[in-house]
């Protein structure tokens, strides 16, 4: 085969990242060299993924790659395989794109740290691990990649090990992360013992028809394993610790990329391996888990007083949206969920980078200590606001477009099935969105507006490279928000179709006709419909807003809107000072974690309950993991 044929691109895309990691270990002493290698590797990885866009997304091909050309023989897949369908490619594109942007940001962000070569090595290992996971065509390699990315992420969490809490966070992550990885390994082993293959396609053909007690337990193990990777409730406290301690560029990867790998795993597990999504209860529990995650984590975020911890909880809240939508098992729902997954990666990346910019300049992310930075860091403020509006679902930014689809999808599902539970999900999603807005208003007021504390008088805007990375993400937030049709048509709808095309996925890997012969009952063909009840055309809205804004501005300027009298010594006496009701002017910043007292007061019992529950002790969190696993096993044994 030609070295440049499309078949090879998936493996190249993974290889360049690991190759870059090893090169930096060996030759990383030189600053120029390691920056060049890191940028080149991440860009190449993205480039190879982008080259697959046309054949996979537009032409609907599935790219299968057998390492060493060990194709299946005698009806069994022995070799190591990569399989890239539209779903894999969707996640692959997302991951490689954000990894590249985080790499651009890292160059100036990490310039003052020690041990920078190790940072890039781990960074590329983490990226490679996630890429490998989403492109892999076999379950055991998925486990290997999970291990690689978990350990890289743990090490990176503790990278600034002199920072307060970094080692503790890494330790917690290590313990619970290992429980998750062990679950995945155990589940993989049990499945292998049952069906004698590790190839995803072949397993998808063999498992659904022959469910035994062992495969059911394996399902529960794998399910919990991928839940820990996505930090879904009850694993959310780890995410908060890990994000709070890790460097911002790593938080971007943990929140934007690593959690997506968990979602990807859950989709492959429940839609492909076990094809259990046709079960009503399975749909309901996935959606329920998503709704609980979105609501619990948004309220947890409201109570935070640290910028990055707050963002961390919002990550899980948004992942909850994704899961709730993907769990609906309708084409429109999956498309909406994947759209939101993409948007989450973009806006959460932007927000973490903005938090990193604040940390870089002021040395703290404590909401109670900051304030008034908008005058010192105007560009960062604007970029942060774009991210904040996106995540809060303010039109026309991307968060709104996808959340709006999620509202429609859940409500449609409720009407179709007559299940009032899904209706509650819609309400929960709508209210959560406003709570998200509330907590970002809190951040805006506490960090960027309000009064500037004395010690930050000399703060400067962050270097250009960091602003560039944020700018790219902000532009993408706006574009994906304005062109929902294009995004769904070229990215999420092919991926959603791929989710329902299990038979094609199997046949493509194992040879035509394999699925029909191996499966006792081939899956029923789902009707794939992307119709929705609502209307929203952001471009028209934006045009109207621009016309209206232009009209108001013209009138305002003609009316000498910003006429300001000249500041002369006579009239300066207090005229331009803030109004304090006649009292002496003192520094008084209104902000911090208790800004929305009126809300929290009504929910005080809930918040004190949550406070007690989140003890911060890793033993408790491990216990939660074990309990969740036990529940999942009981569920799987009874229902599957």
């Amino acid at each position: 085969m030609n070295m440049l044929s499309l078949q090879h691109f998936p493996i190249y895309s993974i290889m360049v990242l690991f190759l870059g990691a090893f090169l930096i270990v060996i030759f990383g002493k030189s600053k120029v060299f390691r920056h060049a290698v890191a940028l080149l590797a991440t860009f190449a990885s993205f480039f190879f993924m982008a080259m697959l866009f046309k054949p996979v997304m537009l032409e609907g091909q599935t790219i299968a790659y057998w390492m060493g050309n060990r194709v299946p023989a005698g009806g069994y897949a022995i070799g190591i395989a990569l399989e890239v369908d539209a779903l894999s490619l969707f996640f692959g594109l997302l991951v490689s794109c954000v990894v590249f942007i985080a790499c651009v940001y890292s160059i100036q962000y990490m310039s003052h740290d020690d041990n920078v070569p190790q940072y890039y090595t781990l960074f590329l290992m983490l990226a490679g691990g996630v890429m490998g996971l989403v492109l892999s065509g076999d379950l055991f390699n998925m486990f290997i990649m999970v291990e690689i990315l978990t350990f890289a992420a743990v090490a990176l969490t503790a990278f600034r090990n002199t920072a307060n809490g970094a080692l503790e966070a890494a330790f917690k992550y290590l313990v619970v992360g290992c429980i998750g990885s062990t679950c995945i390994l155990a589940g993989t082993i049990m499945l292998y013992a049952q069906v004698h293959t590790l190839n995803l396609a072949q397993m998808s053909a063999l498992i659904p028809g022959n469910l035994s007690t062992a495969t059911k337990v394996a399902f529960a193990l794998l399910f919990i394993g991928f839940c820990t990777k996505a930090f879904l409730v009850p694993f959310h406290p780890l995410a908060a610790d890990a994000h709070g301690a890790a460097p911002a560029s790593i938080s971007v990867l943990i929140s934007g990329v690593l959690t997506k790998s968990g979602i990807y795993g859950l989709i492959r597990l429940s839609y492909f391996l076990f094809q259990s999504m046709a079960l009503g209860t399975m749909q309901f529990w996935l959606v329920f888990l998503g709704s609980v995650s979105m609501f619990v984590c948004v309220t947890m975020a409201l109570a935070q007083h640290d910028f990055k911890r707050l963002l961390a909880f919002h990550s899980i809240s948004q992942i909850g949206y994704v899961l709730a939508s993907v769990g609906l098992c309708t084409a429109f729902g999956i498309s909406a969920g994947l759209y939101h997954a993409m948007n989450h990666t973009l806006f959460k990346g932007l927000l973490f980078l903005a938090a990193g910019a604040v940390l870089h300049e002021t040395g703290t992310t404590d909401l109670g200590k900051l304030g008034g930075l908008s005058r010192k860091m105007p560009h960062t403020t604007v970029l942060f606001l774009i991210g904040a509006f996106s995540i809060s679902g303010i039109p026309p930014f991307n968060g709104f477009a996808s959340k709006w689809m999620i509202y429609q999808a859940t409500y449609q599902k409720a009407v179709e099935t007559g299940n009032i539970g899904f209706l509650l999900v819609t309400i929960c999603a709508l209210v959560t969105s406003t709570l998200t807005l509330a907590s970002f208003v809190k951040v805006t007021q506490s960090v960027f507006f309000g009064q500037l504390p004395k010690e930050y008088e000399n703060v400067k805007e962050v270097p250009f490279g960091m602003r560039l990375a944020m700018g790219i993400l902000a532009a993408m937030c706006l574009v994906t928000g304005l062109l929902p049709e294009a995004v769904t048509r070229y990215l999420t709808e092919p991926a959603a179709r791929a989710v329902f095309a299990v038979t094609d996925y199997i046949n493509n890997m194992m040879g035509a006709g394999y699925a029909q012969s191996a499966m006792t009952a081939p899956p029923a063909v789902q009707s794939v419909s992307f119709a929705s009840a609502g209307v929203w055309s952001p471009i028209s809205w934006l045009c109207l807003l621009m016309i209206a804004l232009l009209a108001v501005s013209i009138v305002a300027i003609a009316g000498k809107y910003d006429r300001v009298s000249v500041k002369s010594p006579e009239n300066l006496g207090g005229k331009y000072d803030l109004f304090y009701g006649g009292e002496q002017t003192v520094y008084s910043q209104v902000g911090g974690d208790d800004l929305f007292w009126g809300f929290k007061h009504n929910w005080r019992h809930y918040f004190s309950f949550m406070h007690e529950l989140h003890s911060g002790v890793v033993n408790d969190y491990s216990l939660w993991a074990v309990v969740a696993l036990a529940l999942a096993i009981v569920y799987a044994l009874i229902v599957l």
């Binding site: 606001l385 709508l430 969105s433 807005l437 007021q445 109207l544 006429r563 009126g598 009504n602």
Partner: protein, 339 residues
């Protein structure tokens, strides 16, 4: 092509855009002030007082606090006003809708947040502690109104969707069209609690008594407006007036759309047809809409304003998430089971 563009421009600038919003909003505001005064046995200002106030403010000097972020301070009021006017374009006037294929009710729900956000961010940009407190309360008020509003809209969407057979309906012009053919939703027993809930949300959304903790002149000096003066303050006052129109006309379209059908029948029944009839229908529609908006303002805002005292912010939140949300929920459940 050019005619088309001019038509849309006229929609934005004249009707149902700026000029219409400006005139009717300010008039509603004047009626509200007059009514409250009369209920409290005062003489009250002339009905046109809001216009005088607006032009007076425009003539005054704008003082930008030295500590404020100048651009945000000046831009925020304008964005808020523009967003509100554009929002008004998506609310049909009975049978007439300027843009029916741009936004549905769920989008409108979120577009309503933009004016509130603009005032919060504008206030925050000054750095005033009064603004900080006002912002905190405004956000909680918005949060309070959100849950009942969501429930009301879902109930209406389900009700109309079930009746038309499409299962779900979120398009506002569809909802109005359905009512024009089948009578107002207010006439349906299951929608009565939702309508009551929406009426209760109106004073909260427009920030009037007793839900005006966010502005509370006597306490926190109008909160987020504490540092505003001159034309930007005038723009905020105008936004407030337009919001009155938006909320009341939204109520009319959601629950009283059937009146549009009656008007249509009246004109067409009188033997008129063609362009003259169309123009007459629109004219009558606008007049009736204004009368209804004024009546709702009187009932939901002025009357409540005159007889109540300001609530504390945690009371506002509790009230909306219990009493009002429960009312809306009753409607939703009734609509859900096809009643």
């Amino acid at each position: 092509m050019i005619i088309e563009a001019l038509k849309y421009l006229a929609y934005v600038l004249i009707f149902p855009g700026f000029l219409f919003c400006f005139l009717t909003g300010m008039l509603l505001c004047g009626i509200d002030r007059k009514l409250v005064a009369r209920m409290q046995k005062r003489v009250g200002p002339p009905i046109l007082q809001p216009f005088y106030d607006f032009f007076k403010l425009c003539g005054k000097e704008t003082i930008i606090p030295a500590a404020a972020n100048r651009t945000v301070f000046l831009l925020a009021p304008l964005v808020g006003l523009a967003a509100l006017v554009v929002l008004q374009l998506f609310i049909p006037v009975f049978g007439f809708s300027a843009f029916s294929n741009v936004a549905d009710v769920i989008v409108i729900l979120y577009l309503l947040l933009i004016p509130a956000l603009s005032i919060m961010i504008g206030g925050a940009a000054t750095g005033s502690p009064y603004a900080g407190v006002g912002l905190s309360r405004e956000m909680v008020t918005v949060l309070s109104c959100e849950l009942p509003l969501v429930l009301v809209l879902l109930a209406v969407g389900k009700k109309v969707g079930a009746a038309t057979g499409s299962g779900l309906c979120f398009s506002l012009s569809e909802i109005v069209r359905y009512q024009m053919l089948n009578g107002s939703l207010l006439g349906k027993l299951s929608m009565l609690p939702a309508a009551a809930a929406f009426l209760m949300v109106i004073p909260g959304e427009t920030g009037s008594h007793p839900f005006d903790a966010a502005e509370a002149e006597t306490e926190i000096c109008e909160g987020m407006l504490a540092e505003y003066s001159g034309a930007p303050l005038g723009v905020y006052k105008l936004s407030h007036a337009v919001k009155l129109l938006t909320m009341t006309s939204l109520f009319v379209m959601l629950f009283l759309g059937g009146i549009g059908g009656a008007i249509q029948n009246l004109i067409l029944g009188a033997g008129l047809s063609g362009g003259a009839a169309g123009a007459l229908i629109i004219l009558l529609d606008v007049l009736v809409l204004f009368a209804l908006c004024a009546a709702i303002t009187a009932a939901a805002i002025s009357f409540v304003h005159a007889v109540t005292a300001r609530l504390k912010i945690e009371q506002i939140f509790k009230y909306y998430w219990t009493v009002v949300a429960a009312l809306a929920l009753v409607s939703l459940v009734l609509a859900w089971y096809g009643l």
